[in-house]
């Protein structure tokens, strides 16, 4: 059995974990007709439960982390997000089939009918309240809220983790400096979420589940929610150990794990390795390539992409320059994380622009 656990630990690296989750995401979109079938979905559920039971039984290490009371929400999150993804996709697939046949969505059948809030809504709320209250009470009776030893600045736990819902941001710190990963990107996430209704001008798909009518909105949103948020929280919980080093899910957290830190800045790649003339002393000149790269990414790339991709051209015409510009900027900001991840894994790139003199590293 240990061969299987070791093999999984060996295969799972940050890059492969990311690759697998992207493939799973692609498959989720592509084969939505198949996996939303209830019979198939039940198999997936059993698969997920089986994988967790297997891990708990055969790996002491996994069991130790998984059974921490504060990690219950991780499982609650994984299973509830999974279930509700199924529920929304199932209804979307069914509606898409109806729409393809020229019928209105299922919601339309009852949306013109009005029901009295008392009792039709009030009793749903009442039952939901009672059920939620009972579940919360049982959860609280069964599981003590953990309390570690009293706070002391004299001893830093290793690893020091942020609250579980911020682990996606903490994971970003591996690839970007705090001013980006901790301040600018979170701000852009919030602003980007707020901007959604003003960017998505597609009048279809309001008030019912559908996928086909809103592909362009749903795919990027779910990519952000699943790949850049939920799976990173899972990774941060189970696969980041002492020193924030990456560990396989069944690998013991060795305090003395040595990881090669051979990350190289873009400036060094170009000035030293390619041109062979050494780093210039002026930092603006030293980082000129990085500035050019970032400038091209933010200013040069949008028009180029728009010109080359007919779909984007169509969007530009529909949305107008301002809306479209904001959309592209938000997209590129979101893509900046996976791009830096891939660059790190492929060529050990540390910083694209590195000016530690004024804490300006990208």
């Amino acid at each position: 059995m240990h061969y299987i656990l070791d093999a999984i630990d060996f295969v799972l690296q940050p890059w492969s974990y990311f690759l697998f989750s992207v493939i799973a995401f692609w498959a989720m979109i592509k084969y939505r007709e198949k996996w939303t079938e209830p019979a198939f979905a039940v198999k997936l559920l059993w698969g997920a439960i089986g994988a967790i039971v297997f891990s708990m039984v055969y790996s002491v290490h996994f069991r130790e982390i998984a059974s921490l009371p504060d990690n219950v929400p991780i499982f609650l999150m994984v299973f509830s997000v999974g279930f509700f993804t199924w529920l929304s996709f199932r209804q979307g697939v069914l509606n898409d089939r109806r729409i393809a046949q020229g019928q209105p969505p299922i919601e339309k059948e009852t949306s013109d009918k009005k029901v009295y809030v008392w009792p039709d809504l009030v009793y749903i709320e009442f039952i939901a309240t009672v059920v939620a209250g009972v579940v919360l009470l049982i959860w609280s009776l069964c599981l003590h809220a953990p309390l570690e030893q009293a706070a002391t600045p004299a001893w830093t736990p290793n690893p020091s983790k942020a609250p579980w819902y911020f682990l996606g941001l903490q994971e970003m710190l591996v690839y970007y400096d705090p001013w980006l990963a901790g301040v600018v990107f979170p701000t852009l996430i919030i602003v980007g979420l707020m901007a959604i209704p003003y960017i998505d001008k597609n009048p279809k798909g309001a008030g019912y589940y559908t996928f086909n009518e809103r592909k362009l909105a749903i795919i990027p949103f779910l990519f952000g929610f699943f790949i850049l948020w939920v799976t990173l929280i899972f990774l941060g919980t189970f696969m980041r150990g002492p020193g924030w080093n990456f560990f396989g899910p069944y690998e013991n957290w060795d305090l003395h794990k040595v990881v090669v830190l051979n990350n190289v800045n873009l400036s060094e790649y170009i000035w030293v390795r390619i041109l062979g003339i050494g780093l210039p002393s002026n930092f603006l000149l030293r980082e000129i390539w990085g500035f050019l790269a970032v400038g091209f990414y933010l200013i040069g790339l949008p028009p180029l992409l728009t010109k080359k991709i007919p779909l984007l051209q169509e969007l530009l015409e529909k949305m107008g320059v301002v809306r479209y510009g904001i959309l592209i900027f938000l997209f590129l900001s979101m893509a900046a994380l996976p791009i830096k991840m891939v660059l790190r894994w492929l060529i050990n790139l540390k910083y694209i622009v590195a000016i530690p003199e004024i804490f300006f590293n990208i």
Binding site: D70, V72, P73, L76, S80, F84, L87, S88, Q91, P105, E107, E109, T110, S111, K113, K114, V115, Y116, V117, W118, P119, L121, V122, I124, E125, A128, T129, L136, S140, L141, H144, A145, P146, E148, Q149, A150, A151, P153, S160, K161, A162, P163, Q170, P178, W179, G182, V183, L193, M194, P197, P203, G205, G207, Y208, T210, I218, F221, I358, F359, F360
Partner: protein, 276 residues
């Protein structure tokens, strides 16, 4: 003697009114009618009255789209987020009876809560409820997105919803410090360290070193946003009281206000969304 008593009891029962008569007497009495201004809500008129004449129920419209009240459509997640918020408010007040936000007492008050208070599970309810609320709010947003419910005329309510999401995370984050154990202190240390790197406003952020007068840096370790947040250079007693006030007063008031706007706008923007 015993027979006499039995007879007496039988007499009393024979004279006493039937349950229906008691029910009628209460429902038509002055006290009952002063509280509930309508009869049992099993007629259309009384159902309307039940919602309109009750301050809690009048958050609702009188009638709603049938498609919009189904659980398969709403998942009940917005309602559950609100329910959890109320739960957290009640348990939070109970916790405040036992808790003093000072470095000297905070941790030991939590220990005492666990050791000495009978049935003292309010901390458990508070903690697990807080975790659950974060997830419920995410799922609520997920549902609203998947049904396209942010589309006109509901754009701005989505914006308020995003702020409420941030508020929920802030509530959870500020509460994280209060048990004053190692987990609390270091999680908050990790989280608040980001503030040091805020562009221009944190002393380790890009551009901060440019803000100077005559060579004196205005943004330094003792004057930046990180210092303002923590009330010091690192997580300490000053941070504890700051986070306590934020957690128990400031953020809940903002949350409650925004929730009121959020719910009000659900009504004003046409109720629960549905296909046109």
């Amino acid at each position: 003697m015993l027979d006499k008593l039995k007879k007496k009891i039988d007499e009393i029962f024979a004279q006493s009114p039937s349950p229906e008569a008691v029910k009628k007497a209460i429902a038509e009495g002055q006290v009952w009618k002063s509280i509930f201004r309508h009869g049992y809500p099993d007629t259309p008129r009384n159902r309307v009255m039940a919602v309109l004449s009750n301050v809690f129920l009048h958050l609702h419209p009188v009638k709603a789209r049938h498609s919009g009240v189904k659980m398969s459509y709403t998942w009940c997640m917005g309602g559950l987020s609100f329910f959890l918020f109320l739960n957290l408010t009640v348990t939070g007040i109970l916790l405040m009876f036992y808790y003093r936000p000072t470095a000297e007492y905070a941790y030991y008050d939590i220990v005492a809560l666990r050791e000495h208070v009978p049935l003292g599970i309010m901390r458990e309810i508070h903690r697990w409820g807080a975790h659950a609320m974060v997830i419920a709010v995410w799922l609520h947003m997920f549902r609203v997105f998947m049904t396209g419910s942010y589309k006109p005329p509901r754009e701005f309510n989505w914006v308020i919803g995003v702020i409420l999401l941030v508020i929920t995370l802030l509530l959870s984050f500020t509460g994280y410090l209060l048990p004053w154990d190692q987990l609390a202190m270091w999680a908050i240390t990790v989280g608040t360290n980001m503030a040091r790197a805020t562009p221009f406003m944190g002393y380790e952020g890009p551009g901060a070193s440019m803000i100077q007068i005559g060579g004196v840096h205005l943004v330094n370790g003792g004057s930046d946003i990180h210092f303002a947040l923590l009330g010091g250079h690192f997580v300490s007693e000053a941070t504890l009281i700051r986070f306590y006030v934020l957690h128990c007063v400031v953020v809940p008031i903002v949350a409650a206000t925004l929730m009121a706007i959020h719910f009000w706008r659900v009504r004003k923007d046409g109720g629960i969304s549905g296909p046109l």
